[in-house]
């Protein structure tokens, strides 16, 4: 159950840490950084749990990197259970660092799912899965879908249950990059988009808060219905082209973080997913045209 955010948030982050309910995971986040308090207050208000929540999957801390260098070029460092798996980043990138670090935590520990690098949205609990390499346009498309009546399940991970083949929501801020930031801001003025972090490894990055309607259904799984592989293709015609299922399965296997870890179980889950979904490729060039194509997907039988 989420709690109302209060002026206490910076203090809670500084002391015992703030538990965040992010889909099936609970993350206890500690930080003394004002930028983290501001971003958590903006993006995760509806996912904050009471501070005395007893159990957490991940204990994460974001703080200034120690050392003399921090005097003239301050940096933020990500800690998981006290150890720091990454190099520090400029302090202005503290919130993106939290999000990227959290991706790593989930990818390392979520092996009760087939984890696919994909954006996921649902219409009437029928899920559209969009696997794609960075730059394919999946974050832009899923942000636009989430602001057009679809339910946001995830920007980064499709969590496919190995037990029942359903998709578990993992609603988190959508990571918008470069031209997608003004595009979404202008096309959807109601979108809640945080500060831009510049000169990251991905260029300029800003996060969009998941719509409240998506967060309200964060515990409701969705049934896979469509598997669409977007590819950003300037000059493309934004039409959906049927993709042979065998090719879809190979591409899906490449996009799954833990396919090789799961072995035959991963293959069976991926094959079942392909079997039950309509599979297509999308050469994405224009947001409105691509949105129209995705909105026109026929309901699964």
């Amino acid at each position: 159950m989420a709690v109302a955010v209060s002026a206490d948030l910076p203090r809670i982050l500084r002391t015992q840490g703030a538990p965040l309910e992010i889909g099936p995971f609970i993350v206890r986040l500690s930080s003394r950084l004002p930028a983290i308090a501001e971003s958590i207050g903006l993006h995760y208000t509806e996912q904050l749990l009471p501070a005395d929540t007893p159990f957490s999957d991940f204990h994460v801390r974001l703080d200034r990197a120690p050392g003399v260098r921090g005097v003239w070029r301050p940096q933020a460092r990500f800690y998981l259970d006290g150890s720091s798996p990454f190099k520090p980043l400029p302090l202005s990138q503290a919130f993106p660092l939290f999000e990227w670090g959290l991706n790593w935590c989930i990818a390392q520990h979520g092996h009760h799912y087939l984890m696919i690098h994909a954006a996921v949205a649902a219409r009437d609990d029928q899920a559209l899965i969009m696997p794609g390499a960075p730059g394919a346009g999946k974050s832009t498309l899923v942000a636009a879908l989430a602001l057009s009546g679809w339910r946001l399940l995830s920007d980064e991970f499709a969590l496919l249950s190995l037990e029942n083949g359903l998709l578990t929501p993992l609603p988190r801020p959508v990571s918008l990059k470069n031209q997608a930031i003004p595009l979404i801001r202008e096309r959807f003025p109601e979108a809640v988009v945080g500060r831009s972090a510049h000169e990251t490894t991905k260029g300029t990055v800003a996060h969009m808060k998941p719509p409240s309607a998506s967060l309200a259904r964060a515990q409701a799984p969705a049934r896979p219905a469509w598997l669409v592989f977007p590819r950003f293709a300037p000059g493309g015609d934004d039409t959906l082209r049927e993709m042979p299922k065998a090719h879809a399965l190979l591409t899906l296997a490449d996009a799954a973080f833990n396919y090789s870890v799961l072995g035959g179980q991963g293959f069976e889950a991926a094959a079942e997913l392909v079997d039950r979904c309509a599979c297509a490729q999308l050469d994405y060039a224009d947001l409105d045209r691509s949105l129209s194509a995705l909105n026109a997907l026929p309901d699964a039988p």
Binding site: P244, K245, A246, H247, L249, G264, F267, E268, A271, D275
Partner: protein, 101 residues
């Protein structure tokens, strides 16, 4: 005049590797095979997929495969022999078929 496969061709039976049924999937005559022994996922299309399918149905010797190649695909005998040998070599390299002597 040669009217069929060389009767001196090897007659050992070829068969597919023993893989769980759930790890062999087919859609529109394209086969995807997961090999738990190597962790590899193989896509078999066209002739390779067809040959895998024939051997998955039942073990066959090379002569039978050549005959089927001639019958189903209209290959000339010499072409069929070379083609089947090439396909078998590729599937064997991937450890998806083996010859039972």
């Amino acid at each position: 005049m040669v009217s069929g496969p060389d009767p001196a061709a090897p007659t050992g039976l070829w068969q597919t590797a023993a893989l769980p049924a759930a790890h062999i999937r087919e859609w529109a005559q394209r086969w995807v095979v997961y090999d738990h022994r190597t962790g590899e996922t193989h896509l078999l299309e066209g002739a390779a997929g067809a040959l895998f399918q024939w051997l998955h149905q039942t073990p066959r010797n090379q002569r039978e495969l050549i005959e089927k190649c001639i019958q189903d695909w209209g290959h000339e005998v010499e072409d069929a022999e070379a083609f089947i040998e090439q396909l078998l070599a590729e599937l064997r390299r991937r450890q998806l078929v083996w010859e039972r002597s």
